[in-house]
């Protein structure tokens, strides 16, 4: 089959990238392999785990289920766009402080989901947090600490 590449312009974390990609590449693959933004993880590649969650035009999506070409000219925010090692985002700090990270594989996706939740609902209830992050699977924490961290970050942002 043809190995034709297609032009692609991505706006990621405020920067614009001009690329040429194969049509079958997913947004997740391009973020990780072309842009070397490896914070976004691949768990399942079929939409089930949420490890690949990024914001596309402001809403969380599983980037393994998006053809990169479909993200042409659209705004993407990844975990690298939230905080830096020196200046963590309040959500990142809360995850660290509350022990909501164990192996950390699910963390970038969970934080992007939580970030999207707090943007649309700055003071969620525990039930709202649990429902919103139901698409992010975590094999380690049992979720309790994750939920605590999101609620703690919501409180910090309120102050």
């Amino acid at each position: 089959m043809n190995a034709k590449k297609y032009p692609l312009r991505l706006h990621v974390n405020g920067e614009t990238y001009e690329l040429e990609v194969k049509p079958q590449r997913t947004l997740l693959e391009v973020l990780r392999n072309e842009l070397e933004l490896t914070g976004t993880n691949e768990g399942c590649a079929t939409g089930d785990c949420g490890a690949c969650t990024v914001l596309l035009d402001g809403v969380p999506v599983t980037s393994c289920l998006v053809f990169a070409l479909d993200a042409h000219e659209r705004q993407i925010t990844t975990i690298e766009g939230l905080g830096t090692t020196e200046a963590l985002h309040p959500l990142q700090r809360a995850f660290v402080e509350r022990g909501a990270i164990q192996c950390g594989y699910c963390t970038p996706g969970l934080i992007m989901s939580a970030y999207a939740l707090l943007q649309q609902n700055p003071q969620p209830t525990e039930a709202e947090v649990r429902h919103f992050i139901a698409g992010n699977l975590c094999r380690c924490t049992g979720y309790t600490k994750v939920v605590e961290a999101v609620l703690a970050a919501a409180e910090v942002s309120e102050q």
Partner: protein, 288 residues
């Protein structure tokens, strides 16, 4: 995944023209949440992919002059779940849309994709069929409409012909005398596919408990979503009593043609059709 030719047309006519060029191997993509996993699992290998998301207007939810509601094929599950137009008229549709898959998948997944993928378990099919929705199809010969019930022809199969796309579903005006509910039976609340789904829609006589009309639609228990017509007939024209509800459950179970799979055995599914049909009918009776 294997490479394919990619198009992102900006009009419906252009999309249809591209689609019609190929006899096979051409797939439209909406949310991609069914298509991409199927490509990953090697179940399909598209030669051509036509992205429908650049076509303006296809995602709109628009009330029509006759009181019906046109839900664009490209409307996402998130849009449907949060749309006041859907919530006020057809709560059961908004409610299930807000519970399918997960938040990040619902932000991608579309109404049209759920229906065109034609999984026997597709959650939007039973409630929309119960509401007598119509599928609006656009193709090389122009527009045609078919009752959504007749849209599905087998697992993964629809009436869509070469070059044809689903552009919308039209749901008839809400009936103030009617109540509907959809019960999805699954192991988990999120990220799970229905073992059995039952939608019930009942129109009651004004001020009474007599059932004037009923639609009972079963999901995940036959090659396509199906109406349980004997069960419907058993409750039509009489008060919805416990005995009639039990009889409707029994007849609905008889109408099911379930299979054994990882989610449940055929026997279990059939039993659950009876249980859920009863539960759905009780719930519309009580909420009356």
């Amino acid at each position: 995944m294997k490479p394919f030719e990619y198009y992102a047309p900006e009009t419906l006519e252009a999309a249809v023209e591209i689609m019609a060029r190929y006899e096979e191997g051409v797939y439209p993509v909406a949310g991609g949440t069914d298509l991409i996993p199927k490509m990953r699992y090697g179940q399909i290998q598209p030669k051509v992919v036509v992205n429908l998301k650049r076509i303006p207007g296809l995602a709109e939810i628009v009330p029509q002059d006759d009181g019906s509601l046109k839900i664009g094929a490209l409307a996402t599950l998130t849009q449907v779940a949060s749309s006041p137009k859907v919530r006020e008229r057809y709560l059961m549709v908004a409610q299930i849309a807000g519970k399918m898959a997960s938040v990040p998948v619902r932000n991608l997944a579309t109404v049209g994709g759920n229906l065109c993928n034609a999984a026997p378990s597709a959650d939007l099919a039973p409630p929309l069929i119960a509401l007598d929705a119509e599928a609006v199809i656009f193709g090389p010969q122009g527009e045609r409409r078919v009752p959504l019930e007749a849209f599905f022809t087998g697992p993964g199969q629809t009436v869509l012909g070469r070059g044809e796309l689903l552009t919308a579903v039209v749901v008839p005006p809400p009936d103030p005398q009617a109540r509907g509910t959809y019960i999805k039976h699954a192991h988990r609340e999120a990220l799970d596919i229905a073992i059995v789904g039952v939608a019930a829609w009942v129109r009651f006589e004004e001020g009474g408990s007599v059932c004037e009309d009923a639609h009972i639609v079963l999901g995940a228990v036959a090659p396509t979503p199906i109406r349980a017509r004997e069960a419907e007939a058993a409750i039509r024209g009489a008060p919805l009593t416990e005995e009639r509800i039990a009889e409707a459950g029994r007849l609905a179970a008889e109408a099911a043609r379930p299979i054994d799979d990882v989610r449940g055995s055929a026997w279990y599914r059939r039993e659950m059709v009876a249980v859920l049909t009863r539960r759905a009918l009780f719930s519309v009776t009580i909420s009356q």
